[in-house]
Symmetry: C2
Subunit: 337 residues, 2 copies
């Protein structure tokens, strides 16, 4: 059994902690958190051991009558692997703690690539990642793009990919963030950082990305235009993506015409927190013309990296193949394929 | 002086009526309207003669004490040219009235292309349109795309254009329309109708379009990726677009990072109704790579076709060149270039 600690209990940490508890070959030792809020309370109620992220936090927890199991350092000492799910660029500051304790660590995509030995997407580079000291699970958009581009590159060769990302402006609980009634160019410059980030996993892909921020809280929407090296019809591309793990097809005929329909679908399936771990591709949007294939894809910003974190833990342990790890992860999380 | 009547006083009709009044060579005889609402009242206060669009409307107007100048038929009889600004697919039903009265007519882009003798964008095909019986001013997105693609095609040749359109979900007063907190694929299928519509003005352009609807009310945001036949650097493309009429450059350095900033800019300039008649291109987004140029562009959905309607009136009159007409229109509306 791999003993896992999760440092940070926000959007990603909560989900990874829940997912770790569903793995037969893992034990969630505990989570470290700074603030004694409703999330901490719910975690404690579910029997998760909550550690204080620092000395100040200990006081804050005791003031509201929430008992902590110890300090972050105690958590780190008791685990084999730490998943760092702290906010962007905080992970790199935590790294010395993990190194000092000689613990392996999984970082998130908000960190710079050099925070870890390798950037990671399970179905793209599990083998190269196996047994390393640290891995960086790339961000939601990059994870989704790597799954798609790796699959199409294997099947047809990708000559050039162009992606326009309409990104959700805020997560559901981020009430302070905008925009409202505006489309923001984020950034104005082209390409956005996503193109470079894809190449941390797939170094040979020729890709440009253009990123917008739109006033929604649920899911990013990608418009992809990909030139392929060998001929591919729309139906052949559909078949290829159908056979790719963690990519799921939906259609307008089945009632899917927006990101809202997808979130409602996740609720209706009874997914925890309405999460969708899969890339969602509209099969009736796929069009092949002039050696280019175009389609629409949706990415659940909070959930898509959860299976990658679980697989990253197994990759670090060095005891699994990609296929074995992904099968266990998929089954435990109810991933559709 | 060209005597003009405007049938329909909604989003477009109001703006065209105001613009006609600013032309030295035109007279606004009146507007026809169905409902005696605040817009009708403001029109009357401004000295615009309001005609009832049908018999029922006459009663409705008299019930609220608003006097009408006559019926739609009376308006048509007293003008040289009618601008039909009624809702989508209503224009085609009105056409027999104009034909019967032997009056020339301008229709809007919501109508099918065969409603008129030609589809029209002033800087693309004024000459071919001159002297015809009827013209169709293409929709806001199509107008913007035609201005851009015509310019780049003249300068470098367009090999293939790909455009992702993030469309505003509703106009500011459309309180019944959504989406809220959702991105809608509109339609799911690729291409959207915009590609075909561009070819009603520029028949030789190879273009595909992908359309989303996002929860905003101000402006569409286009992400363009265009392969050119001859080599063009980013700065050369910038120069070409700088020199193209009705295309205006903005930059992030100057504070423009979203559609909201543009609407605020229009307010600050004192533009009537916050209107922007120009294509707005972010000059710092322009990137040239692998024979492709990418950039972001914003389109004011309510305003961009207003100068085209004015130029369409002059084209129908047969008495102007494109340059003369556009100069008069630009000066009267304060178009930046």
């Amino acid at each position: 059994v791999i003993r896992v600690g999760v440092n940070g209990y926000g959007v990603i940490g909560r989900r990874v902690a829940s997912a770790v508890r569903l793995q037969e070959d893992m034990e969630l030792v505990g989570v470290a958190k700074k603030t004694p809020d409703y999330k901490a309370r719910l975690a404690a109620q579910r029997g998760i051991r909550v550690y204080a992220a620092d000395g100040e936090s200990v006081e804050r927890f005791s003031r509201v009558g929430l008992e902590v199991a110890g300090l972050l350092e105690d958590l780190i000492r008791s685990v084999d692997i730490v998943v760092d799910a702290t906010p962007e660029e905080v992970g790199v500051k935590n790294k010395p703690l993990y190194v000092k304790a000689s613990k392996k660590a999984v970082f998130q995509g908000g960190e710079a690539p050099d925070v870890a030995d390798a950037s990671f997407v399970a179905q793209c580079n599990f083998l190269e990642a196996a047994g390393k000291q640290s891995l960086r699970v790339v961000s939601c958009n990059t994870t989704a793009l790597c799954r798609i581009l790796h699959s199409l590159d294997q099947a047809y060769g990708v000559r050039r990919a162009r992606v326009v990302l309409a990104r959700r402006a805020a997560d559901p609980e981020e009430t302070k963030k905008g925009p409202i009634d505006s489309v923001v160019l984020d950034p104005v410059e082209i390409p956005s950082h996503h193109a470079e980030d894809v190449r941390t996993v797939l170094p040979n892909i020729n890709i440009t990305t253009m990123a917008l921020k739109v006033p929604t809280t649920h899911m990013h929407l990608h418009s992809l235009i990909i030139s392929l090296k060998s001929h591919a019809s729309a139906s052949s591309v559909r078949d290829t993506l159908e056979q790719t793990p963690r990519i799921v097809m939906v259609s307008a005929a089945d009632g899917f015409r927006s990101t809202s329909h997808l979130v409602d679908f996740a609720r209706e399936m009874g997914r925890p927190r309405n999460d969708l771990y899969e890339n969602i591709v509209w099969q009736d949007s796929i069009r092949a013309e002039d050696g280019e294939v175009c389609f629409f894809m949706a990415v659940h910003q909070e959930a898509i990296v959860v299976p990658e974190n679980i697989d990253a833990i197994r990759a670090l342990s060095g005891r699994f193949t990609a296929g074995e790890s992904m099968l266990r992860t998929n089954r435990s999380l109810g991933i559709l394929k």
